[in-house]
């Protein structure tokens, strides 16, 4: 059904007149011209499309647009502030928490949302929380180390 959908995207208001059953992923990547959230599996198994909706990590490929009506959506493009990288982004760079980089946006957003609710997690908690996000290159240890480091440096910002 065509509907007027309004939400905040990376801090700025967005309004769209479109079919409300379209998925958030393709609206972000198409209509809203963001390419950080990636298509990886289309069924919510891999996490490459992860974004935060009201600070909760969701799979944007499984999220109908109507579900974000009136909410706050944050994508990887929204992590920087005033030209400064977020501590998580810096830590991923510092620790080499990526190789091909295709899963990285989703990893970062999953970790970001996690740190919002749990600013000082244990290593085990990080592992458990990140377990649903797939990385084929095998950067796992470095991703965990990066999240631990970012948490220590106030990554819940």
């Amino acid at each position: 059904m065509k509907q007027n959908i309004r939400f905040r995207l990376n801090g700025k208001p967005v309004a769209l007149d479109t079919e409300d059953d379209r998925t958030l992923l393709w609206v972000l990547r198409g209509d809203l011209d963001l390419t950080g959230p990636k298509f990886g599996c289309g069924e919510g198994f891999c996490g490459a499309c992860t974004v935060a909706v009201d600070d909760v990590a969701v799979r944007s490929c499984q999220t109908p647009l109507k579900a974000v009506q009136g909410k706050n959506v944050v994508t990887v493009e929204g992590l920087e502030h005033d030209g400064h990288l977020h501590p998580l982004q810096r830590a991923f760079m510092e620790h080499g928490g990526f190789q091909c980089g295709y899963c990285t946006s989703g990893m970062l957003m999953n970790a970001w949302a996690f740190l919002q609710k749990q600013p000082h997690p244990s290593r085990d908690a990080i592992v458990q929380e990140m377990d649903g996000n797939l990385c084929r290159c095998g950067a796992h240890q470095r991703i965990i180390a990066a999240i631990q480091d970012a948490a220590a440096k106030g990554g819940a910002r």
Binding site: T23, K38, G96, F98, G101, L134, R136
Partner: protein, 722 residues
């Protein structure tokens, strides 16, 4: 470092100049390359350009649009900026950084002043493709030679300008100054200004020695990091062109199926959808990818499917029964001369998906007779050739641009999605993106083949291996060499790695093709013999090899691991295995725990020791080794394609299980210094012994030997009961 080949709109004069190259190359280089090369350089514009030659025909025999003897070039522009043009691509392996490091090292400039242009067929010299851990070891020397020559040219210019002898000059960060008088200086940019100098060098140009290295050998952070953590890094699916459409293509239910009927009427009536019907290419195009999917679902088709010759479980027996005559790959002594205490083993592995996180994606645009295709591919020049052939176009009118590639592992060696996108763009007259779904990715992957290894071997009462009779079906002989001293050796391959006549679907190279299977077989059998001889498996290996690099790798891994001697099964759950691959040696030591009740294997720790010659970027090398170990956990513990004939049951990650965070062990990597040897392949060796080291550790923990990968909980549980 900037990356400039993604956005065609913002490209600079390189592209404009190089567009004209194919025309300028109408006189083939081999018939008078002086003229061709001069024309070529002229077209590049001002500055200093160094072209590299390697032995003609070695890696670059099929190149068309460039002088035949040229395979890399480097340009120092009038602002002192350095651009390295390479037909290689970046898919996560880090050569975007390591190639730039090599250029920066030889030139004497900072790393951040080097720009890379990679995988663009109009801007970069021809390249066969990015695979086989070859970029650093084979392409690296050419890059270093180019940079060294550029430095010589610049130093000569500087000597003239500063009126001193060359030996009095020092260079740092692109500034040449007189030793002891840093005020007398000139920058590379100033030297290059107004010049148009082109040089040709071969690989033998004087290179800096190891002792002089400032950039090579230092752990260096990845130069693509910033783009990748901000979402700015562009992959093929992130390219947007005006008026573009998304395609979804009708696919058969199984490989080998033939279409009996087709009804596209409902799809045609859907608003905004365009249906393309051209021979076997049935597709729908739409401005929204989801809507294209809805339109595809409206197409009805019936198919005839061929009978299945074998499936996940029967593939090994099928190969054994239909393997035909062997090819003898190695033979010495007489393996039939030993008949006492011969141990016979059969090892099996399954088909493996590459499963890169980025599915095959491409977008094609036909404009003014030129087809430009942005594609996630390991082989941009190969893609260009196939696209040109399929479309009936001249190669010079096809350009393939390779943005960042979201993982390849051998699976993006062919680029069918780029061909499909180009075909549809030609038909539609609009830019078309083809982005395979995960289901299509699992269907059209070129899977690593299932394989079988049979070994008959024996050990004498001195603990020496006396015979080694090795047979392998469908894995080829990569890494199969018997590097333990054995008087009687036979190595035979059957059906190579298979091919379209053997496998019911596409197969191809999967990270270190076949090597994981061969080393699973060999290093398991070595362990079996060590246990039979009641000798510690490390000691048994050392006792049976005089290969110095192998011995060093084994000892390094064992020392770092804290190896405690004891014949297997020692109950410790620890093991060792080694391989040679791509010119490197790698030994892994691992510790596991096995839950006998559930069959679940927990890999607790893996120590990797790798000798890969000179290491350009130790940080990058370690990342590759860790990646190998993590990725290796998949084919060892959970990954195996489920299929029946050409029908593939796995369609997504719910049934084809990749390694996850919770499975990741403690990993320690160490690089064995070997600066006497040029750089060897580092992107693959550490994945190779993973099957053997984990299977050996399971044996050490439980006394039960696993002969088939992956060692799923069900298989382990079953093995524990027998």
């Amino acid at each position: 470092m900037r990356r400039r080949n993604v956005d065609v709109e913002t490209d600079d004069l390189h592209r404009a100049a190089l567009f004209a190259v194919p025309e300028a190359m109408d006189t083939p280089a081999r018939q008078g390359n002086g003229f061709s090369r001069r024309s070529f350089c002229k077209l590049l514009g001002g500055g200093i350009v160094v072209l590299i030659t390697t032995k003609p025909g070695r890696l670059f025999a099929q190149r068309r649009a460039y002088p035949e003897d040229l395979n890399a070039y480097l340009r120092i522009d009038e602002n002192g900026g350095v651009t390295l043009f390479s037909g290689k691509i970046e898919m996560g392996q880090g050569i975007h950084t390591s190639l730039a490091q090599m250029a920066a090292e030889e030139l004497g400039v900072s790393l951040d002043s080097v720009s890379m242009v990679m995988g663009d067929t109009d801007q970069c010299p021809w390249d066969q493709g990015t695979w086989g851990s070859q970029s650093t070891r084979m392409f690296g020397p050419a890059v270093r030679a180019a940079a060294a020559e550029a430095r010589t040219v610049l130093m000569n210019l500087a000597a003239k300008k500063l009126e001193v002898g060359r030996d009095k000059l020092v260079v740092e960060n692109g500034v040449v100054s007189v030793a002891g008088n840093s005020a007398r200086k000139v920058t590379y940019g100033e030297l290059a200004k107004g010049k148009q100098i082109a040089r040709l060098v071969d690989e033998k140009a004087a290179l800096r020695s190891l002792k002089e290295f400032k950039v090579i050998g230092r752990p260096t952070k990845r130069m693509d990091g910033h783009d990748k953590v901000t979402g700015r890094a562009k992959y093929a699916g992130d390219v947007r062109r005006p008026g573009m459409l998304y395609a979804r293509i009708l696919r058969p239910p199984s490989h080998g199926a033939t279409r009996k009927s087709l009804d596209t009427s409902k799809a045609k009536s859907m608003s905004g959808a365009t249906v393309v019907e051209k021979d076997d290419l049935i597709a729908v195009l739409h401005t929204d990818p989801q809507a294209a999917g809805h339109a595809l679902a409206l197409i009805k088709a019936d198919w005839d499917q061929p009978a299945a010759a074998f499936d996940t479980e029967s593939v090994g027996d099928y190969f054994l029964a239909n393997g035909g005559a062997p090819e003898v790959r190695a033979s010495h002594g007489d393996v039939t001369s030993v008949t006492a205490n011969v141990i016979h083993s059969t090892f099996r592995t399954g088909y493996l998906a590459h499963a890169p996180m980025e599915p095959h994606t491409a977008i094609a645009e036909l404009k003014d007779g030129k087809m430009t295709v942005w594609a996630g591919t390991q082989s941009p020049f190969g893609a260009r050739a196939v696209i040109a052939k399929t479309l009936g176009m001249d190669e010079k009118n096809v350009r393939v641009i390779t943005p960042f590639v979201g993982g390849g592992f051998g699976g993006k060696s062919s680029a069918n999605q780029a061909v499909e996108a180009a075909q549809l763009a030609q038909i539609a007259g609009k830019p078309v993106m083809v982005a395979w779904t995960r289901g299509e990715e699992f269907f059209f992957d070129t899977f690593g083949p299932a394989a079988v290894v049979k070994i008959a071997s024996a050990v004498d009462d001195q603990g020496k291996i006396t015979t080694w009779d090795y047979h392998v079906w469908a894995a080829g002989d990569r890494s199969a060499e018997m590097f333990y001293d054995t008087p009687n050796v036979s190595l035979k391959t059957y059906i190579g790695r298979g091919g379209p006549k053997v496998h019911p679907f596409g197969t191809g190279p999967w990270r270190a093709p076949g090597a994981g299977t061969n080393v699973f077989g060999r290093e398991s059998q070595i362990d079996i013999m060590a246990a039979a001889a009641k000798i510690d498996p490390l000691e048994f290996r050392l006792k049976n090899t005089s290969d110095a690099r192998l011995r060093r790798a084994l000892k390094a891994a064992a020392d770092a691991f804290g190896w405690k001697a004891g014949a297997g099964p020692s109950g410790q759950g620890r093991a060792i295995a080694a391989c040679t691959d791509a010119g490197a040696y790698c030994a892994l030591a691992a510790e596991v725990a096995v839950d006998r009740a559930t069959g679940v294997i927990t890999v607790k720790r893996v120590v990797a020791a790798q000798d890969m010659g000179v290491v350009i970027n130790p940080e990058g090398a370690k990342m590759q080794m860790e990646g190998c170990i993590n990725m290796g956990l998949g084919y060892v513990l959970s990954e195996e394609l489920n299929f029946k004939g050409g029908a593939i049951a796995d369609k997504n990650f719910d049934t084809y299980e990749l390694p996850r965070f919770a499975a990741v062990p403690r990993i320690e990597t160490l690089l064995i210094p070997n600066d006497d040897l040029p750089p060897q392949g580092g992107g693959e060796p550490a994945i190779v012994p993973m099957g053997a080291v984990i299977a050996n550790a399971v044996f050490d923990a439980t006394g039960v030997r696993m002969f088939r990968l992956p060692m799923t909980p069900a298989r382990v549980k079953a093995a524990m009961k027998t």
